[in-house]
C-alpha cells in the first residue's frame, strides 16, 4: 500500500515536470512547477527527510512560485516574435 503511494508520488512528479515544460501558457507552467515542488516535498517526507521537506515546501512551492508570478506580471503579453511558434 505504502509503495503504491510512493509510486503515485513519483509518477506525479514526472507528470508535473512534463507539464511544467509542455504548457504554452506560462501561468499554467508555473502552477505545474509548484505542483512539482509540492510533490517533491512529499517525496522528501516519504524518504524521512522532514527538514528538507519543510524547506522545499516553503521555498519551492511557496516563495519561488510567488517570485515567478511577480516576474510574469512584469512581462507583458507580447513575448514572442511570431505568434504560435514554440
Amino acid at each position: 500500500m505504502i509503495e503504491i503511494l510512493h509510486l503515485t508520488i513519483l509518477i506525479t512528479i514526472l507528470v508535473a515536470g512534463f507539464f511544467a515544460l509542455w504548457f504554452r501558457n506560462l501561468l499554467s507552467s508555473i502552477i505545474s512547477l509548484a505542483v512539482l515542488s509540492l510533490f517533491i516535498s512529499l517525496e522528501f517526507f516519504y524518504m524521512q527527510a522532514p527538514d528538507v521537506a519543510i524547506a522545499e515546501a516553503g521555498i519551492g512551492a511557496g516563495l519561488s512560485t510567488a517570485i515567478y508570478i511577480i516576474a510574469l506580471r512584469a512581462c507583458g503579453k507580447k513575448q514572442f516574435r511570431k505568434e504560435g511558434e514554440r
Partner: protein, 164 residues
C-alpha cells in the same frame, strides 16, 4: 498589483499571522524538531508574500521600509560570522557554547529523548541569526522584484552613457 477584496484580505491576514508564528516556532526549535533557520525564515518570508499579495506593494512599503530588511540581513549574517569568530580560540566555527553550562549549554542525554530548549550551543544562536538573515533577504527579494515589476514608480526614464 492592486489589493485584493476585503474577504480575501481578512483571510490572508488571519493565515499570515498563523504562518508567522509557525515560522518563528520552527526557527527557535530548530535544534530539536525538524526545521531551522532556513525553513523558518522561508515560512516567515511566505507571510511577507501573503501580506504583499493581499495589500499590494504600496501599502506594504508604507508599513515597513526596505532599510529594516537590509539591517536584518546584514545584522543576521554579521551575527553568524561573529558567532563563528568567537570560537577562534579553538577554530573558526568552533561550537564554544555547547555543554558549557550557560546560554544554550545544557548537556543532552544520549539516545531518544524529548529534548530541552536550552541545548546545542552556537547552533541555536546560528539558527536565530540565519532566520533573521533569511527573513530579511527573501523579503528584500520580494519587495525589490515587486517594485521592479512597476518600473514607472521607481525608475524614471532611460539614460545613455554611464547611468548617473
Amino acid at each position: 498589483m492592486n489589493p485584493l477584496s476585503v474577504v480575501a484580505r481578512t483571510v490572508c491576514n488571519l493565515f499570515a499571522w498563523f504562518l508567522a508564528v509557525f515560522g518563528i516556532y520552527v526557527i527557535i526549535h530548530g535544534h530539536l524538531t525538524p526545521g531551522g533557520g532556513f525553513q523558518g525564515g522561508a515560512v516567515v518570508a511566505t507571510f511577507m508574500a501573503f501580506l504583499l499579495v493581499a495589500h499590494g506593494g504600496k501599502k506594504m512599503q508604507s508599513w515597513v521600509k526596505k532599510d529594516i530588511f537590509t539591517l536584518m540581513e546584514c545584522g543576521g549574517l554579521t551575527l553568524f560570522i561573529t558567532a563563528g569568530l568567537l570560537g577562534m580560540s579553538n577554530t573558526f566555527f568552533f561550537n564554544f557554547l555547547a555543554k558549557a553550562g550557560g546560554l544554550f549549554g545544557s548537556v543532552v542525554p544520549m539516545g531518544p529523548n524529548p529534548g530541552a530548549l536550552n541545548t546545542s550551543g552556537t547552533i541555536a544562536l546560528m539558527n536565530l541569526s540565519v532566520g533573521l538573515e533569511v527573513v530579511g533577504g527573501l523579503s528584500m527579494i520580494l519587495l525589490y522584484m515587486f517594485s521592479g515589476a512597476h518600473p514607472e514608480e521607481s525608475f524614471g526614464r532611460e539614460e545613455a552613457g554611464h547611468d548617473r
